[in-house]
Symmetry: C2
């Protein structure tokens, strides 16, 4: 049904002619046509207006031979749907006037039916699918419960999320209740996304790497794995946990279809920690897209050689940076498309 | 000569009755007596006034049974001595009005004799040694060339130091010249510190973990290792490279006396990556000092059991956080001192 199903074949671990390629945050800030829209509509208006979200999603698809689209949205729409009033503050980023710091606040959060508040996302999926005309698969995503707790408790971005960690270590009961509530809403939300037509879902655990291996199991993976267990029977689930190389072995035992890795692990070690048994996605340093197109091409080919062309999805090791020249992003994508074994 | 030489014996890999303990950033912001001084003198005045730096260095020694003191100072005094005019901006942190972005700026930096501009540090060491009365060793430190480049090019702190990385990838010649200049000054500076009486030096590579394993070798370890080679014949060199678990194996082959590790690696893997052959230092999650004193005690004892009491220096996995209760810091230290095999 989907004409170019390379991404799905890689998720199933099939032998392919070359790896599929897409870029985290490909729909967005490095594209002039995105910047034109950004100057007209604020951040959450772009997320919450289905036509805009769909348009932004397909912008990079019009330019580049990508093998998958990812719905333009934000991980914070889930806590918003639960009643946590996130704003996007100019030159600050995510912002909460009243961060979550007490058990009572957690108890008051909406769970049942919260996913109904995200109808605009499901509508955006339907419009996007029409625009994509079955050419390539569409990916849906959500933040990990731990990463969402980080923002909800800290109330803003942070280098080390010490307030969020302190909340977990001093009020573990409240922390676990919050994580469970986010998990439950995320499962309902992702099921609705699948029903709306996405071909795979990716969980972003952007701040997992702030935790020790033991705390990671307790405060992050335990909840991600609930999501994986709930979704895997229905769709492909990909987990990208930045900085969590130490959890790869454990994650490999789960029902995920693929694991994302960042650029601080070599392809060889990533394969070793995952027993050579699972599809991996990554891991080009986003800052390395500042290199010249020739250097990028050479590095991409080396990366594919090292991961191997099968059970592999070429991608960056984190989101593309805003100031990357469009031709450098294109050099990255074309280097994968032109790859010959 | 030094009455309690437990820290030095651990650096030499000798069998000890219990591991030595000190805390990164132990001289500072979590202590009420430090805050009293901070309200009187600004940051670089504290660093540049030998009596103040010495007083701050011994403040935690008066309170706690620590096995080493570390001279109160800052990694930015080295680039300052080279002519890079760092300020400490209220609620921003390190700040440069004119960050280093061109080869010409790098060429203009002072190297020869720059260490003479840091006489206040050597004076602080002499005063501190008088105060310590040979009870415990004094550690001196410096930032890694890469970490100092990060601040010099970015001009301020950052979550990912993308400008600094972009500088390295687009102007490698200027980057390597800057790294070499910082390396040369750091070697001269640390030699003077050793001559002034410190018993060991620690290199802090706070931002090494932003680089891929390959870029780490090229832009960070290559220069750290020059410092290790130059200093190791004269003193113990400890390298703490946050987030650089992937470089531990390579670092183990060098002349370092010990390697610091952060809390994202298990003691077992840290031992494995270093072939069980070298003294390790770390790795208690600083945010875990928010736990109760009883939990801290239990976790510290587990940590020592897992690292083993020999070839081990108990420490945090990064600097102590400003809002940690003094009694929790004390619980950490006492848990090590009271440790029985």
């Amino acid at each position: 049904m989907i004409k170019n199903d390379l991404y799905l074949r890689a998720l199933r671990g099939e032998t392919v002619e070359r790896p599929p390629v897409w870029m985290m945050r490909q729909a967005g800030r490095y594209l002039p046509e995105f910047i034109a829209l950004r100057d007209q509509y604020d951040f959450f208006t772009r997320c919450q207006t289905p036509e805009l979200a769909a348009e932004i999603t397909v912008q990079p698809i019009r330019r580049f031979p990508l093998d998958a689209a990812i719905l333009f949205s934000d991980i914070l729409v889930v806590p918003q749907a639960m009643g946590i009033d996130f704003k996007m503050k100019e030159s600050v980023g995510p912002w909460l006037d009243t961060p979550i710091r007490t058990l009572e606040q957690v108890e008051n959060l909406q769970v049942s039916g919260a996913e109904e508040n995200l109808k605009y996302v499901y509508d955006a999926i339907e419009i996007t699918l029409q625009k994509l005309e079955n050419e390539i698969p569409l990916i849906g995503f959500a933040g990990s419960p731990w990463t969402l707790l980080c923002y909800a408790v800290e109330g803003k971005g942070s280098k080390s999320f010490d307030i969020a960690k302190s909340f977990c270590f001093t009020q573990p009961e409240a922390a676990h209740l919050l994580l469970q509530k986010i998990t439950d809403v995320t499962i309902a939300y992702l099921k609705r996304k699948v029903k709306s037509g996405v071909s795979a879902v990716q969980i972003f655990d952007s701040w997992g790497g702030m935790l020790s291996p033991e705390d990671y199991q307790e405060f992050s993976w335990k909840y991600i794995n609930q999501i994986v267990e709930a979704l895997a029977p229905e769709t492909h689930v990909v987990v990208f946990a930045k900085g969590c190389w130490y959890a790869l072995e454990e994650m490999t035992k789960s029902k995920v279809s693929a694991l994302g890795v960042d650029w601080t692990i070599t392809p060889e070690l990533a394969r070793k920690f995952t027993n050579n048994s699972i599809t991996l996605q990554g891991n080009f340093d986003p800052a390395r897209l500042h290199s010249s197109p020739e250097v990028i091409r050479k590095m991409v080919h080396e990366m594919i050689d090292r991961f191997g062309k099968d059970k592999y999805i070429a991608n960056l090791g984190h989101g593309i940076l805003p100031n990357i020249p469009v031709e450098n992003a294109e050099a990255f994508i074309r280097a994968v498309v032109e790859y010959k074994n």
